[in-house]
Symmetry: C2
Subunit: 464 residues, 2 copies
C-alpha cells in the first residue's frame, strides 16, 4: 500500500530517471529509515543507485553518536554506502548567530550538496511526509503568507531535491517501520522549529481533524498541490512581465518603465515590485505588502520627481517615466560643457553625444530650409562675438520669442516640467550678449529674423 | 478609529459612488446595527442615501418579532426608511428541502435584490467583518479548497453587494455599539452554519491566536486579499484561454480543441475543464480534482475515440482533435446518401454540403488538368453503367491503385485512422461493377488510364 503510493508519487511527479544516483538524507528517524527501505525495495524497478548521508550534529552527545551508529548499521545491512559527517553544530550556530534548527538545516543541506557534487549524484531524497506538508502550510498560513507560502513543500526542486514520501502519512510510516522491524531512532531533538511545530502537530491538527475534517491532512495537501500550479503559473507570467518592464539592471540599481508597468494586472504588478526588491537585496525579508502598495502608488504619482524609502535601505525614485530601485545614493553626475561653435562648421558635444552644426546663408537660401524643433534660423548680424554651446548657468535669462519681457531659464525649465536631473542635458546657444536659443525649446526675441535681415545663421542639433 | 477604518475601506475598494442609493441588510445584531450607525454618520461625506431591509424569518416566534421591532425602532430614530418583510422561513425550507441556514440566506438575498430593483438602488451593504473573513477562509481551507475558496469574502461584487466592515473586528464592533448605546439584539439563532462556525469562532481562532499569532485574523484577511488578486488574475487569463480553446458551445454540449488546449499551463488547463463542466451543469458541485485530472489525461490519450464518465451525468468524449463535454447521449446522426452522377454534369450532395462535377474529355484535353486530392481522371470506357456517389456500405471493397489484391473499405478506413463517426461522411464514386474512387483517399486499379485509354472521365469534388 505505502509502496504503491510512493511508486505513484515518483511516477506522477517524475522524481526519478533511469540510472539516477540518489543520495538519501538519513537522520535515523522513522521517516528517513522508511524511505530508505522503500527506495531500496524499488531500486531495481527504477534502475537507481542509492547512497545515504547522515549528519552527526553533536547536539546531544551520546544520543547523536547512537543515531550515527544506527544509520551506519542499517545501511550496512542493506548494502548501501553511507556518508557520515560529524560537525559541531552548536559551535557553528554560536559563531554564526543562528538557532540550532537553522544551523543544523544549513549544514545538513550543505553536506548533501557537497556529496552530490563529489559522487556526481542526480537527486537528493528527503523524507518529508504529508503531515509535514499540512504542518508547514498551516504554520505559514497562521504567520501570514501569500500564494508562494501556501503552496507548501515541493515534490521536486530544480536543484535535485525530491520528496517521494510527500503523499504518505506519519501513521503509515510508523506502521511500515513496525511491520518491517526497522526500529528507527526516535529523534528527541527534532530540530525543526520544535515548539511551534509540535503544537501544530500534537494539538492543532488533531483538533481540526476531529472537529472539521477527518481527512484534513489530505485536503491541505491537495490544496497545496493546486496552489503550487497556480503559483508556478503566475510566477512564470510575472517573470516574463518583469523582463518586459525592466529597462536597466546593474549591480545595485534597477529601473522599471512606468507605462509598461501600468498595463499589467495587480497580481503581476505586486510581483514585479517584489522581484525588483529581491534583485537588489537578494531576498525580500522585512518587506511587507504595505511597502509594495506604497511603491505601486508611486507609479500613479503625477509629480515627476519623488522618492520613498523602504526598509533595509531600499530607495525608490520616480524619475520621468521610470521607477528606480536602489540601495545606493542616486547621484546624478554633474554635467558641465562649454563649446565654441564656429559661424560655419560643426562641433561635437560629447557630454550629450550630439552634433551642433552652423551655417551662414543668404535670405534667399533660407527658403529651402525645413525648420523643426532642432533646426532654427537667426539674424546673423545680431550675433555679438563668439557663439557658444553650453549648459545652463545660474542667472541665465531669455527674452522668449513672442512673449514680452525676459524669463529665468530656471523658471522656464520648471514650466516645461523638465526634471531637475535632466536640466543640464539641455544645450543652450549663446553669444556674448546672452541666450539665443534653448535648443529644442525656445528662441530669443533678440535674434529673430526681420525685414532688415541680410544674413542668416542656421543652427541645427542632432543626437548621434 | 473604526469610522476611519470603514472610510478607508470604502475609498480603497471604491465601494460607494457619489449619489448611491444603499440598502443595508439589517438583522438587528451588533454588526449590522454598527454598520447602519457608521454609514448614517458618513452619508453626507459620501453623498449617499441609506435604506434598511430586515427579514423577519419567523424562526423563533416572539424573538424574531422583537428583532423586527428593534430594527424598525432604530431606523426610525435615525430617520431611515426600513423595509421589513415577514416570511415563514421554516416552511419554505421544508418545502424546498433546505437547511434553515441555506433557506434564510436565499430568502434574505432575494429580498435585498427585489428591494434594490424596486427602489432602483445601487448597492446592498452587508455587515460582514474581519472575524467572518477569517472564519470563512479557515472553514474553506479545512474542508479543502483551491485559490477560489481561499480568497474569502469579497469587499465588492458585480451585483452591487458591498462589505464596508470587512476590515473591522467583532471586538471593535461590540465596543462601538456599547460606546454609542446602540443596544443591538443578540442573535441567538445565528443561522450561518451554526455548529461549525461557532467552533471555529469560539475554539479554533482563539487557540490559534494565542499560540501562533495574536494578529491571526488580520494575517488571514491580508492573505485573502492577496489571493483574491491572484485568483482574479488567473480567472481573467483562464476566461480568455477558454474562449480560445472552445470551438463550439450549445445548450448541452461544448467542444474543446485539443491542440490549442495543450499549449496552456496546467493551472489554466485545470480551469478550462472546470469552466466546461460548469457550462453544462451550471456549477461544479461533486466534481473533484481527480475528475479534472482524468479529463486532462484524455487530452493526452492517443486513441482517437474514447469516452469517460464524470459524476452528475457528464460524459466526456475524445473525437479526433476535440474533447466534447455533454450531459446528453452523443448521437451521431446516421448519414445515408446515394446520388446518380451524370457522365458530364454535376450534382450536389447536400448531406456533405458539397458539389461533385464530371466531364468526359479526350486524352489530349487531359494534359491541362491539375490533379489533386479532389480531382482525378479515369478511363471512361472502363466505367460500367451508371455512376453513383454514395457513402460506404457493408462489404465494400476496392482494388487500390498500385497495391495488389482488393481491400475492405472498412479496413482502409481503420488504416487511415478515420474516426468511426466520420466514415459515412466520406463520399465514394462507384459504377455497377464496384468502387472507382474513395474520394480524397484512394483510386481503384480497375479504372486507371493506360496506353489504350481513349476517353477520360474527370471527376472533381468540392466542399461548398
Amino acid at each position: 500500500m505505502i509502496i504503491n503510493k510512493v511508486r505513484d508519487t515518483i511516477k506522477r511527479h517524475n522524481l526519478l530517471n533511469d540510472g539516477d544516483k540518489v543520495i538519501l538524507g538519513l537522520s535515523g528517524g522513522p521517516d528517513s529509515v522508511c524511505l530508505l527501505h522503500i527506495l531500496n525495495y524499488l531500486k531495481d524497478e527504477f534502475n537507481i543507485k542509492i547512497y545515504a548521508a547522515h549528519l552527526n550534529h553533536k547536539i546531544r552527545g551520546i544520543e547523536a553518536q547512537k543515531d550515527a551508529m544506527y544509520a551506519a548499521k542499517i545501511c550496512d545491512i542493506m548494502g548501501i554506502i553511507c556518508f557520515i559527517r560529524a560537525i559541531d553544530v552548536p559551535k557553528y550556530c554560536e559563531e554564526n548567530n543562528l538557532s540550532l534548527e537553522e544551523g543544523a538545516r544549513i549544514l545538513r543541506y550543505n553536506m548533501f550538496f557537497e556529496i552530490k557534487e563529489k559522487i556526481n549524484a542526480d537527486k537528493i531524497a528527503i523524507a518529508h511526509n504529508i503531515n509535514d506538508q499540512a504542518e508547514t502550510v498551516l504554520m505559514r498560513m497562521m504567520r501570514g503568507t501569500g500564494l508562494q507560502g501556501l503552496k507548501g513543500i515541493e515534490y521536486k526542486r530544480d536543484d535535485g531535491i525530491i520528496r517521494p514520501l510527500l503523499d504518505v502519512s506519519r501513521e503509515e510510516i510508523e506502521k511500515y517501520c513496525e511491520e518491517n522491524n526497522l526500529n528507527p531512532r526516535i529523534d528527541h531533538t527534532n530540530l525543526e522549529d520544535i515548539y511551534v511545530r509540535n503544537k501544530i502537530r500534537l494539538k492543532l491538527i488533531p483538533y481540526m481533524s476531529e472537529n472539521f475534517n477527518p481527512n484534513l491532512k489530505e485536503s491541505i495537501a491537495r490544496m497545496a498541490n493546486l496552489l503550487r500550479e497556480d503559483s508556478d503559473y503566475i510566477e512564470e507570467q510575472a517573470n516574463s512581465a518583469f523582463e518586459q518592464v525592466c529597462e536597466k539592471k546593474s549591480q545595485n540599481i534597477i529601473s522599471l518603465d512606468i507605462d509598461k508597468f501600468l498595463k499589467f494586472h495587480k497580481a503581476i504588478k505586486n510581483r514585479i515590485i517584489r522581484k525588483s526588491i529581491d534583485f537588489i537585496l537578494g531576498d525580500i525579508k522585512g518587506i511587507e505588502q504595505k511597502h509594495i502598495e506604497d511603491v505601486i502608488s508611486l507609479f500613479f504619482e503625477s509629480k515627476t520627481d519623488t522618492r520613498i524609502d523602504l526598509p533595509r535601505g531600499i530607495r525608490v525614485y520616480k524619475k520621468n517615466r521610470n521607477i528606480i530601485f536602489t540601495n545606493e545614493e542616486l547621484v546624478e553626475k554633474k554635467i558641465n560643457y562649454n563649446y565654441k561653435l564656429p559661424k560655419s562648421g560643426y562641433i561635437k558635444v560629447k557630454e550629450l553625444n550630439a552634433i551642433v552644426e552652423s551655417k551662414i546663408l543668404s535670405v534667399k537660401e533660407m527658403k529651402n530650409i525645413t525648420h523643426d524643433k532642432y533646426t532654427k534660423c537667426f539674424d546673423a548680424d545680431k550675433v555679438c562675438g563668439d557663439l557658444l554651446i553650453r549648459n545652463r548657468k545660474n542667472g541665465d535669462r531669455i527674452k522668449i520669442l513672442g512673449l514680452g519681457g525676459s524669463k529665468k531659464i530656471k523658471d522656464l525649465f520648471i514650466d516645461l516640467k523638465i526634471p531637475r536631473e535632466d536640466r543640464d542635458k539641455i544645450p543652450i546657444l549663446v553669444d556674448e550678449k546672452g541666450i539665443i536659443w534653448v535648443i529644442g525649446y525656445r528662441m530669443s526675441e533678440d535674434y529673430k529674423i526681420d525685414k532688415g535681415t541680410k544674413n542668416i545663421l542656421k543652427v541645427s542639433f542632432k543626437l548621434l
